[in-house]
């Protein structure tokens, strides 16, 4: 089953993942232009971009656990998923700076230090930025084992961005808490299935 699925998956080009991944952006732009966003479009734009970034972050985190548990191999698409996450995170940040905060740099920089939700978000973004600029083949070759360690920081960034979400809300929110559970679950799968399954997967698939 997994082998059959993997044969199928190999035929999907990476650019198709990019194309599909940009559909949420196209829908958001369409909604913005047609007035489909309701009476406070700025908040909707900001929140939809942020949520979409999180979805791609979780998708990229799920690649290895999926391989270890089911031997379905999506490794080839992981870089695209990660970069899609980064793309939406950049747009989310730009929407905040331009539309929401209207370039009030003084207030933004004051708030960044004082407000945990902004600090969490910015720390998460800084990690995503570091991972994005080192996501090319040259960096992977050049950095060796250091690359691996650097990219494990995604397990710090993921909970940070969910904390960023939770801290911005007034009451205890159910949906972000569920996403936090999903992220911690994916991390646990990774820890629980550490070496032996990895070896097996290597033998059979790679």
């Amino acid at each position: 089953m997994a082998a059959w699925l993997n044969r199928w998956l190999r035929r999907i080009p990476v650019w198709l993942v990019w194309l599909l991944g940009l559909i949420p952006l196209a829908l958001l732009i369409a909604d913005t232009l047609t007035g489909g966003l309701g009476v406070e479009p700025v908040r909707d734009i900001e929140h939809r971009l942020g949520r979409t970034a999180l979805y791609f972050l979780v998708a990229s985190l799920a690649v290895t656990p999926l391989l270890r548990l089911t031997r379905v191999n999506l490794i080839r698409y992981r870089r695209a998923l990660g970069l899609l996450c980064f793309t939406y995170a950049v747009l989310h940040l730009l929407a905040w700076v331009s539309m929401d905060m209207a370039f009030l740099w003084a207030q933004m920089s004051r708030d960044l230090i004082k407000r945990p939700y902004l600090f969490f978000g910015m720390a998460g973004f800084a990690i995503l930025l570091a991972l994005a600029v080192t996501s090319n083949n040259r960096a992977i070759r050049y950095m060796g084992m250091g690359w691996r360690r650097l990219h494990q920081l995604i397990y710090v960034a993921a909970p940070l961005v969910v904390l960023h979400w939770i801290w911005a809300l007034k009451t205890f929110p159910v949906i972000p808490a569920i996403w936090m559970g999903v992220i911690l679950g994916l991390l646990l799968v990774r820890l629980a299935t550490r070496r032996p399954v990895m070896k097996k997967a290597n033998e059979r698939i790679v």
């Binding site: 009476v39 406070e40 539309m99 905060m101 209207a102 009030l104 708030d111 407000r115 007034k170």
Partner: protein
Amino acid sequence: LTGRPSQLSTDEKPNTLEQITNYNNFYEFGTGKEDPARHAGALTTDPWSVEIGGMVDRPGQYGVEDLAPDNALEQRIYRLRCVEGWSMVIPWIGVTLASVLDRVGVQSGAKYVEFRTLLRPEEMHGQRYPLLTWPYIEGLRLDEATHPLTILATGLYDEVLPNQNGAPIRLVVPWKYGFKSIKSIVRIILTDQQPASTWQRMQPREYGFYANVNPQVDHPRWSQATERRIGAGLFGGRQETLMFNGYGDQVAQLYAGMDLAKDY
């Protein structure tokens, strides 16, 4: 519904009825801003009565018509500033709370007014979840309650107050953050004890009893220095938040000598 124009109205341009009725915080109908517009239709507002009690001469059950008779209605165009950092301009129709309190006769020992929202989970589906401690409670000091700016609203533009905005009767205190302006009121009690309001009980560090709009006292988790006006457009920017939401000339003396960073 019509109300006499008032000197106390702002001349700023009001938000549209569509904006005012589709962007609401009314957790009794869900935490999303569009939830009240979607779900508040289920609320029955007729018959309705407001229990007025505590330290008053004429306690009892009052109908909305008794409290806000048509011939007493005024239009009050007020700024509304939400604690979340957004604002609107809203043309309310209503009567001063002072006129209602006069009617029932406040006794001399009374110092505070406590308000309560309807508790009816069958029609207010948010109340089936412990989002807040239900029913919603708010309170004012007596001098705040009898201030000429403080009204009980029963209309919006020239319409009967829509359910999502707190039908059939709600409080409006324009110099305080929006959550003080309690909606769908069923009980008003005069007391000598400071009421414990819902948000204050939930997160006392973040929400105080007074909740006066104050750009110098931030919410612990976000700044209150500026606000976004709903309807300003994608690049409408932010505007400076004014002390007491711009009503300082009228209300600042209520807080003379108080440390507003402590009594937030």
